[in-house]
Every structure is written in structure tokens, then in C-alpha cells.
Symmetry: C2
Subunit: 299 residues, 2 copies
Amino acid sequence: MSVLIVGSTALDSIKTPHAENPRLLGGSASHAAVAASFFGPVKMIGVVGDDFPKKYVALYKKHRIDLTGLQIQDGKTFHWAGEYEVNMNNRRTLLTELGVFEKFTPHLPDPHKQSAFVLLANIAPSLQHHVLDQMARPRFVVADTMDLWLNIALEDLLRLLKRLDGFVLNDSEAHQLTQEDNVFAAMKKLHRLGPKYIIIKKGSHGSILSGPKGHFICPAYPLPNVVDPTGAGDSFVGGLMGYLSTARGGIDTNIRRAMIYGSVLASFCCEGFGLNRTTRIKRADIDKRVAELERLTRF
Amino acid sequence: MSVLIVGSTALDSIKTPHAENPRLLGGSASHAAVAASFFGPVKMIGVVGDDFPKKYVALYKKHRIDLTGLQIQDGKTFHWAGEYEVNMNNRRTLLTELGVFEKFTPHLPDPHKQSAFVLLANIAPSLQHHVLDQMARPRFVVADTMDLWLNIALEDLLRLLKRLDGFVLNDSEAHQLTQEDNVFAAMKKLHRLGPKYIIIKKGSHGSILSGPKGHFICPAYPLPNVVDPTGAGDSFVGGLMGYLSTARGGIDTNIRRAMIYGSVLASFCCEGFGLNRTTRIKRADIDKRVAELERLTRF
């Protein structure tokens, strides 16, 4: 089955203590779609301006991402610039030019409306709603978010939570939303807001699932050197949904392994600027790291 | 085989946002010895004053801890008082009365010198050296430490590292010692300082081993409610050494499972003030949580 992915499609200019990389392919939808593409068909919904480099369209196509839902509008592509500190843990935004993204309304081509797996990658909750409004009967809907929406669109987000099967967020967002420092206490509260599956991402500490079959403690793949963590969370959830959409059996049978695949995609993402590393790997590279994670956690 | 454990034996007065508990049984050796006692014979080296409550001696004895190396001196027992913040992540010291601990010189009874497994729990590195100086030919020596010794006794600690098989420290200490934020990069540098086995503790995020057979990612046992984390790290390394000292086969065969047992002992420690919870459990309770951790990490 295919995954429908909506989110931002952007140009990212990323500065770290070691390098500066202008106008990389970025955005939550780009990262998630490329990550999901290693497993099966992906349909991406987004918007870019007429300045969007042709090489990036070619990159999407190389990953066989269905672009019939990608709008190309007169104007500038969403451009984000940010800078990471020495330890890669803190980043600050230097520039946000919304461009054509400011008035983006996701519009689903008819075949997209039948998609079974829907990933509402990080984007305004109102747009996430708008995508769901157009769907027929999706089998499994997962959303990601960011602190910005907790601050400026909390009501929309809370309404969205009631429409989701799964909700993915990071530990600081979980804390902000529940006032609980403890992730297990936070997950309990998050279930009450709607989703049956809660996944809290903890960066290099891995992630935790709370679902109908209990918890799963998912490790991060060990990386001695992080080049650029931008998009790691989007890659995680993209890999997760890509794997789930093609695995045989129910969600509960597959979600743990899906998280492991997500971890591995996030690890590749961190090893290069933007999508530089992820777009150079093969499925076999992914499977190799999954096997390694099995060895790294066995006791 | 038995484990020899040296460290502090103290009275801890612990304040949290919810409760105040004066003069609990504490200290790194107490926590480690009780944790190790669930697996096999434990010999403890330490010092207490003549004010040390008899009920605590009875508690050690209930755990069949060999106390022939516990000195009882005229004066006051080491007393530490501290306060935890709401989220249990930060604590501040309110009071430190060294008492008889100030002039403590660990002295090993003859039979102790033959111990195969030695745990140098958190205590001044000079005292850790002094214990090793008295040992015959220990099979496996592990030391724990704290930030204080990195600040005031770094040279002693660096000399100690060359005498160890294993070194256990937390992530902030690893960072302080190596200037590396990344734990995997830090572990590489720590090996160069001597120990073949490096274990970095990350609190509720679990721990990571780097050893001759590569890495192991060890989860923390999920706790929705932490009552008092004091001694969790000591319980971890105590459980680890207790398990290792009684398991059949070599270190590499057993160290991963030993860390899992350590995690479980740390979880019980966190569920009560001081040793209140740990001293009320049975070996079967421990094995149950180990089995749970197997289920929580399988994929």
C-alpha cells in the first residue's frame, strides 16, 4: 500500500561549527518522503515556488515519489536558515521566509484520497486537518508536530489528536503538552487526548512507544559523529510509516520493527547535510543497520 | 564467587517536593552491597560512627553482607543532606558532615584480599587505590566515580583508570573527562585511559557499554513515578557486579545481562526513599522485571 505524506517542502540553509550549506533540499515532507521511499510507493503533498531547483525535483523522482500532489506556484520556495551550536544539541533560527508556503492549501488529487496510510508530517495543524477532511477512509493516520504549533495553534492540535491513530512528538513537546517530566506519565496523559499509539522521540536516546500492547523501548542507532540533525525526526517517522505501509500483518505486529527502521533512517539523515547522505544509501544499507541494532540490544 | 565492595557508608537526609526523610541508610557502598546481595556473597568495606543505628547493621545482616571489613569508630557517621527539585533531575547538597569518614583508611581482612570481583564504588580515588594495593590478584575490578573527584582528585583518578578492567560513570562526567558530548566518541577516548570496559550511565535513558565485543545499548526499566533517585547509580553497578560474580562463563558472555540486572536494581532503588524499596524485594521480583525488559526491547 502507499503512504500519503503532507508537510513542508523547503530550502534549508544550515550552518554548523564546521560548515555552511546554503539552500539544501529540506522540509518535513521531503525528509519523510525520501525515508519512506525505501519501502514502497509514496505520494507527497506540498508546495514549492518557481525558484525550486530542478535537481531537487529530479531527486524526488529518483526516489519514485509521486509528485502529482506537489504544487508549483509563482513565488519563492519556503526558505529556512539555522545555525547549530558546537554540541549539535541547540539550534537557532537565523531566517524564515515562508514564500509560497504562507498561503499553502493542500489539495489532494482523487487517487490520493484512497490512501491507507497517512503521515501528517510537521506542518500547521489546520493544514493537517484539511488533508484528513479530504481522505476517504484511511487505515492508519499518524501526525508529527513541533513546539511552534503548541504555542500558536494548540486548539487546532488538540482537535487533531482526536482524529489520529498515532502521534509522534519529542520529549520537550510532550512535557510542554502534559506538564509531565516523566515520559511514561506523559504518554498516559497523551492517550487521553485521543491517539492509541504515542511515540516520544528522545534524539540520541532513542524513542518510546506506548500502544495497545504496552511499551517498546526503541534505541537510537549509535553515531560517533553527527553532521547535521535537521530532519532526523521527519526521517524517523517517514521510515516508520514506509515500513508499516508495506509490512504484512497488523499495526501491533509491525510497529516495533517500524520504529527500528525509523531510527536507522534518522541515523543516515544525521550523517550528512540535508538529505545528502540519505539519498545515497540503498535498502541493503538500511537492513544492515537494523541487523546491527538487533545485535546491539540483545542480552 | 564473592564481590568485595568499598565505598561510603552514610546517613542520608533526603528532601523532595513531596516528603522529608531524615537519616536514611545511604552511601555508595550500602546501595551497591544491598543490590549485589541478591546474587551471591558480598563483603563490604567501609566506616561508620558509634551513632550508627543498630537497625541498619541488622539490615546489612539481613542481606547476608559480610561486615568484617566495616570499621565502627568513635565519632559520627558520615551524614549527607540533600534536596531534589520538582522534576527529580536536579539536586542540591544542603549539608555534608564527614565525621569518621574524614580519616577513613580502608583496611582489608586477610580473606578479603583474595576476592575475585572488586567494586570500587564512589569514594575518593586515593582510597580506591588503597584497596587495590591490598588485593592479591582480582579477576575483575570495576570503579565508579563522581564529578567531585574529577574536580579535586583528577590525577589520582587517571592513575586509577590504568588499574581497572571496567569504569562506570555518568554522561556528564564522561563529558567533563573527555570534552566529548557524544557518548560514543567519549567512550573511545575513555578506553585510551585504560579500562577495557566503559559503561556510561544516562539516568532514565539507560546506559551504554563499550567493550571488546562492541557496544550494548541497555534500557532503563520504565518508571512512571520516581520517589528518590539517590543511590540509583550505585545500585546499578552493585547489581551488575553481583550478577557477574555468580554467572557462569566469561565477562563478555555475561556483561550485557549483568547491566540489565543493574538497571532493574536501579529501578527498585528509585521507587522508595533510601533503601526502603530495595530491602523489601525478593530475587523473583528482580527476575520478573528482567523478563519485562526483554519484552520491552524485543522487535
